[in-house]
């Protein structure tokens, strides 16, 4: 996705980076009423809006400056919302303070007034994605990032690894379009003045996933390592290459290895039970089938987001025998048939708990009860040092269903005791050895 958006990205909006914060605040106040979640509507509009945005901003700058202060004070005492944001996504410390405040006012007037009060109080600490109209985004946000943010908030790009990859590609565009202003150096200016607003915007669109946090921390480290004497062109090239190899190693290759490893664990006459849809599981099953293994699949779908139907079609087209269950009903019966359960994780906490699509935990516990092996697939980039022992510590609310009338959490946390094995690109390990892997990764 990021590639297509990258094309139209003019260096214009991103390079002008003065006083962005105040401006964005002001704008939002004026225009935030009709927020339209135009997810796919896309590139053309975005280019315009970027340019328009700049003009307007300049015209109204004076007036806004005055307002901005008022706005800031008015919205400052609404911190619960931001707490949700960093609960899930807050990896980098810097963005939390300055950054979030800058964007928050932009979104607060419109979105929260509709949604905020209706989020059930007992879940109000959790984060939630929200649609931010592109015209209300910080003007320094790169168009590529703008589009990405739209996609993320609309859940067009939803799983952890895809989001990570798209983010990195978008950041590559940001780096490419950057020119260091006079009297500063790349490594000191870029992160705080250019990269952070992008991150803030993405976080506001949808709380960052753990892998994004990890990757952004890595990226900032790489940027800070750039020697101040290196010319811009070389620095940018260096970083672009670093990002490419990061994507290659931690995502592309990692996925490849995981799929191979997991496919090897499937043997003839297995009955694999899986939940909803994840690309790793899909690839694993197809790979095992390609290797000529004969097995059956029972696909249990998420009843409120039937992403499994397409997977069922794909697998059956590929020639895999598949049974599709629309919800968790009669789960034990299905598990009695199954020989292995394969789930894919959104993240794994350092206590070995798996953070995955809501419902995964139900399946894992029931499988463990019945003595069925539970395999979790996860790239190590999704590992996090945080610890979670229940599902309400870190979670995300479905923005479409966030009221008393209909409420849905997107994730749940499966304790390590219910996972038989975690398959990563570094090999198979038990869930309890996640912290060891994390430490090893730090050494690399």
């Amino acid at each position: 996705m990021a590639t297509e958006t990258g094309g139209p990205a003019p260096a214009g909006p991103a390079t002008e980076n003065t006083e962005k914060k105040e401006q964005s605040k002001g704008q939002a106040k004026g225009q935030a009423k009709d927020q339209q979640p135009a997810a796919g509507t896309s590139t053309g509009e975005k280019k315009l809006s970027g340019a328009e945005l700049k003009k307007k901003a300049k015209e109204e700058k004076a007036a806004r400056r005055a307002q901005a202060k008022a706005v800031l004070t008015a919205h400052a005492p609404a911190p619960q919302q931001s707490s949700g944001g960093d609960g899930k996504g807050g990896k980098g410390k810097p963005k939390q303070d300055g950054a979030k405040l800058a964007l928050r006012p932009a979104s607060t007037p419109a979105v929260p007034k509709e949604n905020k009060p209706s989020i059930p109080a007992c879940f109000s600490h959790l984060s939630i994605a929200k649609r931010i109209d592109m015209t209300h985004a910080d003007k320094d946000v790169n168009p590529a990032v703008l589009v990405l943010g739209e996609h993320m908030s609309a859940f067009a790009i939803s799983d952890s690894i895809t989001r990570l990859e798209a983010t990195l590609l978008a950041f590559k565009k940001v780096i490419e379009s950057y020119n260091t202003p006079l009297n500063t150096t790349f490594s000191r200016h870029f992160t705080s003045h250019v990269l952070n607003p992008q991150i803030e915007y993405l976080t506001a669109c949808r709380p960052m996933c753990f892998s994004m946090g990890n990757a952004i921390r890595w990226l900032k480290l790489q940027i800070s390592k750039v020697d101040i004497d290196v010319p811009d062109f070389d620095a940018k090239k260096l970083l672009s290459e670093a990002i490419d190899s990061f994507i290659h190693e931690r995502i592309t290759l990692a996925d490849f290895v995981i799929v191979q490893t997991a496919a090897e664990m499937i043997v003839d006459d297995d009955v694999i039970l899986t939940y909803a849809h994840h690309h790793l599981v899909e690839r694993t099953l197809l790979q095992a089938h390609k290797e000529g293994k004969h097995f059956r699949v029972i696909l249990v779908d998420d009843p409120y987001e039937r992403v499994g139907i397409d997977l069922a079609k794909k697998l059956s087209t590929a020639g895999i025998k598949i049974a599709y269950s629309s919800d968790l009903g009669a789960l034990r019966t299905h598990l009695n048939e199954a020989t292995q359960v394969i789930l894919a994780a959104e993240a794994i906490f350092s206590n070995g708990a798996m953070y995955a699509r809501a419902g995964s935990c139900d399946i894992a516990t029931a499988a463990t009860d019945l003595g069925v092996r539970v395999i979790a697939l996860c790239e190590t980039i999704n590992f996090t040092e945080r610890v979670s022992i229940d599902s309400l510590t870190y979670n995300e609310i479905d923005p479409e269903r966030c009221t008393n009338d209909g409420f849905r959490l997107l994730f749940d946390t499966t304790r390590d005791k219910d996972l038989s094995v975690v398959v990563t690109e570094l090999g198979n390990s038990s869930a309890t050895s996640v912290p060891a892997i994390l430490r090893k990764l730090e050494e690399l």
């Binding site: 059930p120 069922a312 059956s316 598949i322």
Partner: protein, 452 residues
């Protein structure tokens, strides 16, 4: 007599209205087809319908002694059970009525000196019967019909040969009446038309003394069935009366696809307590934007209770917040397993994981003495066309689609059972079963299963 075609009565209420105007056999047939078509579904409607039809059987079918009545009831009961074998309450009600008749009969016998208890008569028939192809009860029925004439108190063994011969000779023309009926001729005809022969017997003078006894038995049994009907209608209230004990101020109560019983229970608690209700809704079969359980939500909101509709398939995510889980049962089997809406097992399992109490609400009439030898036998699989259409060729041809409507919640996941008689642990269920059913009726519906 107005006799509606079966398809004319699409639900319980309309069905009950037709009962009076209809011939008994028509009513039975129409109930069977309603059950088969799931036009009467759910444990309470099924129980009520069964009680009504059995009452009609007692009141209007022709029978001349206890055995005849037991035969009529169990034969019709068996057909109802076969029409909807996953609705355990039907069999439960039949067993209750059978037990009732046996009790009344035993009382009568003790008063008058009219001989052996009914079990003694039934048992030899069941065990000795040589040919499994015949429903064991059929000859008994025939016996009793024939035996009215000599009015012999112990007819069974001595008259079997006559019974069988009379079956073949006399009953053959009768089967013509039922050429088009759903069931095999044995059942229907002997139940519904076998008895009219007996009428000739009633006119003999020696019968008269007996007839008074039959009359009193009839009215007593009818009273008993009325009591069962009353019991069914009061169950929700009686269970709700126990709500305050279970729900405490500040609780987060998760209810899974609340039935009327559960709603009543929660509303009663809402009178005295402030708590939060999480409703695990049924997955939407069709795309619709309307909020589920709207009226229930309104009532709770009026009582100042916060209600949240949870739209997750797996509810593990919520369990660290939830204090207790309440599940309405379709039926409870003897080992304590609960037949409930699909998804309940996952909810109960999740609650167990966090150590939250799982409370099952069930009328005693839903408590079944049966013990399923595998869970699957009680899972009802339903229609999946609402999310996979037939135009979707790839899915229809290549994928096996399963949608469970009900499933079994294993007993180890359940902490407490609340019935109209109070609060029980699963260990106590067996004594409840013993109180409510006669041992000899437990398997009544299996008697002729061998022939299928």
């Amino acid at each position: 007599m107005v006799s509606h075609p079966a398809g004319y009565a699409p639900d319980l209420e309309k069905y009950l209205k037709t009962l009076k105007g209809q011939q008994l056999d028509t009513s039975v047939e129409s109930l069977i087809s309603l059950l088969k078509r799931r036009q009467i579904k759910g444990s309470e409607p099924c129980a009520v319908a069964t009680a009504h039809i059995l009452l009609q059987v007692v009141a209007r079918s022709k029978w001349h002694d206890v055995d005849g009545l037991i035969d009529n009831i169990s034969r019709i009961g068996r057909r109802l059970v076969e029409a909807q074998p996953k609705e355990l309450v039907i069999a439960n009600i039949v067993r209750r009525v059978l037990g009732l008749i046996r009790d009344e009969a035993a009382e009568d016998r003790n008063e008058g000196a009219s001989g052996t208890p009914s079990e003694a008569q039934m048992t030899p028939t069941d065990t000795v019967h040589p040919d499994p192809k015949w429903p064991t009860s059929t000859p008994t029925k025939q016996d009793s019909v024939i035996d009215q004439v000599p009015n012999s108190p112990k007819p069974v063994l001595q008259s079997r040969p006559t019974g069988l011969s009379s079956y073949s000779s006399v009953n053959v023309p009768k089967t013509l009446f039922h050429l088009l009926s759903v069931s095999g001729p044995n059942d229907a005809e002997s139940v519904l038309h076998g008895s009219p022969f007996g009428n000739s017997g009633t006119s003999t003078p020696s019968w008269r003394g007996h007839s008074a006894q039959v009359h009193s038995l009839r009215s007593e049994v009818i009273d008993g069935i009325e009591e069962i009907k009353d019991e069914i209608s009061q169950v929700d209230d009686q269970i709700a009366a126990l709500a305050e004990v279970q729900i405490h101020p500040g609780d987060y109560v998760l209810i899974h696809q609340p039935s009327a019983t559960v709603e009543r229970f929660i509303l009663r608690a809402a009178l005295k307590r402030k708590f939060t209700v999480l409703i695990a809704t049924e997955p939407p079969r069709k795309q619709s934007s309307e909020v589920q359980h709207t009226s229930f939500r309104k009532k709770l909101a009026a009582a100042g209770i916060t209600v949240i509709n949870i739209m997750n398939g797996g509810l593990m995510a919520y369990m660290s917040r939830v204090d207790k889980v309440i599940i309405g049962a379709h039926a409870v089997v003897a080992n304590g397993g609960v037949v409930a809406d699909a998804g309940a097992a996952a909810v109960a399992r999740a609650a167990k994981e966090q150590g939250n109490a799982v409370i099952v609400l069930s009328g005693v009439y839903k408590l079944s003495p049966e013990n399923p030898f595998n869970e699957e036998s009680l899972i009802e699989w339903g229609d999946s066309s609402s999310f996979v259409g037939f135009e979707d060729g790839a899915m229809v041809s290549g994928v096996e689609i399963r949608t469970a409507i009900t499933e079994i919640v294993p007993p180890e996941l359940i902490d407490t059972y609340i019935t109209n008689l109070g609060t029980h642990s699963s260990d106590h269920l067996s004594s409840l079963i013993a109180d409510h059913y006669k041992q000899e009726d437990v398997d009544f519906h299996l008697w002729n299963e061998g022939e299928r």
